[in-house]
């Protein structure tokens, strides 16, 4: 529209011509600027890691990779990580399926409580489970000291248990989503044709859910192998890739090996990111639409009901107990040993300072992230330039990249001019911005897809130029997406550990790093209290987000009405 109009504008002088040019090309100018930012803050750090891993004193070398393959320790760290990912994926998918089946097909009274419990880990940083396991099974744990149960927590099994509990909601949410969208008539038809419930699950439900379960599994796999906190706190002498990179860099200052481990970790993540995005889209089974049929609660056979209930309740109980012990540990001297009520952990000065710092950094990250995310969404949806889908892919790829890799990347990339950022607050905020960009961008894209381009065209038809249209029409409509992006970035940034652990400078500690240090040094009370503070902040954010989506949902419809009328 703007382009067509510019033909009729009298182009008397250079300034006028420039103005029309800018107006017509503003989307593309924005796109170029945003792309530049993505290159600098997302692609360049990754490339820096790649370069570091192959750059020897005399040019290119593969000697570090050779060392990785030869030295058993490094290689074990790879196999351990993959095995951890595999076990976690299987367990989370099975538990997620049982939970999802019960909350969509099971007895009505059970659905809501199970759903709440299975989503609880979402409000906590994943390493909450490492802390709760230490409280229960550590050297001074309740189970160890009070009940005399000896379980060597530090090692492979401990990490597996913590990671499983942390990633159940991810698997659950995705599987529940596909299960809910599965037409219940399909299962009913099988039932009608004589199949029992077990046969229905085996021949209809699972085959039809397979793409969804696979998708959930891939995501759990990526998240697990990239997760840093649990493995670093509970790993003990068992090597895993993500914490080993940390030890390489921070402990031994061996940047080359750290980079090699990062590249090794990034390969499965990138493969899965592509699998996830390209192979599985369109692999959905299409069925004839009819009236949407609510899934009525059906009588479950004991053969299905009891094992499902057993698995679900066991997982649910473990989650609830984990939260419980961390909460109690925040208010007792040493939970299980000296149960005296104290406020010293909560009042701990370092902890509160770290929380304050985290809020500051996360607010900065949220603001920048929301702005960039909204603009990116706009150029991705409305832009008409070549390479749009590439920009979309890059901006969404942040979440698939392991935090540790981004951490090292930033350390390598922004350690020297022209981008000297290390040691400052901005590097802490910026890595969060680009890691968690996906949510803001996706919220923006879906918002923009809801409104037709005719609204903008009507605005320019009435004489507004691009900037006016953007300011008066697009921004108000996209505001809910902006807010969603803001709060989401804030929430994820404030609990994130894996990247910032490389980037914090001594005088400026962040809450997540403080929790990590406290857990490692056995200050469980402080670790618990700080974790609980983060949980409270996340809960507050979720409440605000919930409130705003309800509120702005209303506002949007009203605004849309006034625009069209």
């Amino acid at each position: 529209m703007a382009r067509a109009e510019s033909l009729y504008v009298p182009q008397s002088n250079l300034w006028g011509r420039l103005k029309t040019f800018i107006n017509a090309e503003l989307v593309n100018i924005f796109a170029a600027l945003l792309f530049l930012l993505l290159v600098i803050f997302l692609l360049y750090p990754i490339i820096a890691v790649l370069i570091k891993s192959v750059k020897g004193p005399q040019g290119l070398t593969l000697s570090y990779y050779l060392k990785f393959l030869i030295k058993g320790y490094y290689f074990r760290s790879l196999t351990n990580t993959l095995l951890l990912g595999f076990i976690n994926t299987v367990v989370c998918s099975v538990v997620g399926f049982c939970l999802a089946y019960l909350t969509t097909r099971g007895p009505l009274g059970l659905r809501k409580p199970l759903k709440i419990v299975s989503m609880m880990p979402l409000i906590a940083p994943p390493y909450l489970f490492a802390i709760s396991l230490i409280i229960l099974f550590g050297h001074n744990g309740i189970m160890t000291k009070v009940f005399g149960i000896k379980w060597s927590l530090y090692g492979f099994t401990g990490v597996v248990v913590a990671q499983t509990l942390a990633f159940i909601p991810l698997a659950y949410l995705m599987i529940e989503n596909t299960l809910r969208s599965l037409n219940p008539n399909l299962e009913e038809s099988a039932y009608d044709l004589g199949a029992s419930e077990t046969t229905i699950i085996r021949t209809i439900t699972i085959p039809l859910l397979a793409p969804g379960i696979l998708k959930a599994g891939l995501l759990v796999f990526v998240m697990t192998i990239a997760e840093f906190g649990n493995a670093a706190i509970l790993g003990g002498r068992t090597p895993f890739l993500a914490p080993d990179t940390y030890t390489m860099i921070v402990g031994e200052a061996d940047f080359e090996m750290g980079s090699v481990l990062s590249v090794v970790l990034i390969i499965p993540c990138i493969i899965i990111f592509f699998l996830h995005n390209y192979l599985l889209t369109g692999k959905k089974f299409t069925t004839i639409g009819g009236k949407p049929v609510a899934s009525e609660p059906r009588k479950m056979t004991p053969f299905v009901k009891f094992p499902f209930l057993l698995i679900s309740c066991f997982a649910g109980l473990a989650i609830v107990i984990s939260f419980g012990v961390v909460l109690f540990a925040s208010f007792t001297k040493i939970l299980g040993i000296n149960n005296q009520f104290v406020l010293s952990h909560i009042k701990n000065f370092d902890s509160n300072l770290a929380i304050y710092n985290s809020i500051k950094v996360s607010l900065i990250a949220a603001l920048i992230g929301a702005i960039i995310g909204t603009l990116l969404a706009y150029v991705i949806v409305r832009g008409k330039f070549f390479g749009r889908s590439f920009i979309e892919m890059v901006s969404l790829s942040g979440f698939a990249l392991p935090g540790t890799v981004i951490g090292i990347g930033y350390l390598l990339a922004f350690n020297a001019p022209p981008f000297k950022l290390t040691g400052g607050i901005m590097i802490l905020a910026l890595n969060c911005v680009f890691r968690f960009l996906a949510v803001g961008v996706e919220a923006g894209i879906s918002k923009l897809h809801q409104i037709s381009i005719e609204i903008e065209e009507a605005s320019s038809d009435l004489g507004a130029n691009f900037l006016t249209t953007f300011y008066k029409i697009v921004l108000p409509i996209m505001f809910p997406a902006f807010i969603a992006g803001f709060i989401y970035t804030f929430m994820t940034a404030i609990v994130s550990l894996s990247a910032v652990v490389f980037l914090v400078s001594p005088g400026f500690e962040l809450a997540a790093v403080k929790i990590f240090d406290a857990a490692v040094y056995g200050e469980i009370g402080v670790a618990s209290a700080t974790t609980m503070k983060l949980v409270v902040i996340v809960i507050i954010c979720m409440i605000i987000l919930n409130f705003l989506t309800k509120k702005t949902g209303f506002d949007i419809s009203r605004k849309k009405g006034s625009v069209t009328v």
Binding site: E188, I288, G290
Partner: protein, 363 residues
């Protein structure tokens, strides 16, 4: 016919169903005879689909009985009932071929592989899909999917076939064809069938008997002709086709001639009463648009002739539809095969109402 011989295939006995506190079925009782095609019809929310799901075993009932071929089945799950359902969206298994879909129930019943194959071929032939057994479901047209769903439901030779709005996903032409085919198939197999639809014309054209439902209550059960010509109440009269209602009070009854006269807003109307009628009874005349004659000149020797003015005239080809004003009352008239006699707005016309019209008593 001896009583035991005419035992109904399906008996519904005082079925009640609540969703929370809302009563969606308020005491449904009726019989379906062997080999009969019965249609449940009614506006959305009338409970027809819920009733069908209760018969199929997908929705538990709160009280009442479902008796299939002499056996109480309302406590049984769907897989242990001899009823088979065809869902509105067909619910074909998208990860299986046509043959695998049709053979699914047979496999569950542990039929031998060769037997299954034989039966599937037979069913494919029955629904005219020979040679398509190896196709995947999403490679079929809507009509073909409909046939597969039908074949799958028929595979186990159910005692009662349940069809839930089976034609609503097809386009208009295909719907007519499939309607005929389903009826032909049903008559050939003599299979007892319950057909649910919201489309009254579909119900009229396919059924042995129609069950008209509204708000969880059966309004009337009868053959299509009975339902159309002698609707039990205003709702049914208006539900199957358009109708002009004329309210009146009976002024004269001539028992000898079998005739009565009633006052209406357009004047006196003479009619042949179908039931015992008395002077002073309040009645509602049910006048179908296609039963009214319309002409430009006053017809000679006809009762019930009124003068009116055309307000709206719509020429549709095979017929013309008019809204005519008679003494301020709007009357809808269908004129078959209008050709050159099509009347235009403002034209004065004469309309004649037949004497053998249906009359409802108003209490």
């Amino acid at each position: 016919m001896s009583p035991s011989y005419s035992m109904p295939m399906l008996i519904l006995n005082d079925i009640h169903k609540f969703y929370d506190r809302l009563e969606v079925l308020k005491g449904i009782s009726m019989d379906v005879n062997k080999g009969e095609l019965v249609t449940f019809v009614g506006p959305s929310g009338c409970g027809k689909t819920t009733l069908l799901r209760i018969i199929g075993g997908f929705t538990p009932l709160d009280s009442g009985e479902v008796i299939l071929d002499g056996q109480k089945i309302d406590h049984l799950p769907p897989n242990l009932r001899d009823t088979r359902i065809c869902f509105q969206n067909y619910a074909l298994f998208p990860h299986m071929t046509v043959a695998e879909n049709i053979g699914y129930g047979l496999k569950i019943k542990k039929w031998k592989k060769s037997k299954v194959q034989e039966r599937v071929e037979e069913l494919l032939k029955l629904v005219q899909l020979e040679g398509l057994g190896g196709r995947m479901i999403d490679k079929l047209s809507g009509g073909q999917q409909q046939r597969v769903a039908l074949a799958r439901a028929l595979s186990l030779e159910p005692k009662v076939l349940l069809l839930d709005e089976p034609l609503s996903n097809l386009d208009a032409n295909l719907r007519l064809t499939m309607r005929g085919e389903i009826r032909k198939l049903q008559e050939r197999l003599k299979i007892t069938t319950i057909f649910v639809t919201h489309d009254q014309f579909e119900a009229m054209s396919i059924s042995d008997r129609i069950v008209v439902m509204k708000e969880g209550i059966i309004q009337q059960v009868g053959s299509p002709i009975e339902i159309y010509e002698r609707p039990a109440n205003e709702f049914i009269a208006g539900f199957v086709g358009f109708v002009n209602f004329l309210d009146g009070t009976v002024e004269k009854v001539d028992i000898g001639l079998g005739k009565a006269t009633t006052s209406t807003p357009i004047g006196e109307v003479h009619f042949v009463p179908e039931w015992n009628i008395n002077v002073g009874d309040r009645v509602k005349l049910v006048v179908r648009p296609e039963t009214i004659d319309i002409s430009g000149a006053e017809p000679v020797g006809m009762n019930n002739t009124f003068q009116g003015e055309v307000e709206i005239g719509m020429y549709v080809g095979s017929l013309a539809k008019y809204t005519v004003l008679v003494k301020g009352q709007k009357i809808i008239i269908d004129q078959p095969n209008p050709r050159e006699t099509f009347f235009r707005p403002k034209e004065k016309i004469y309309l004649s109402i037949p004497e053998n019209i249906h009359v409802l008593r108003i209490n």
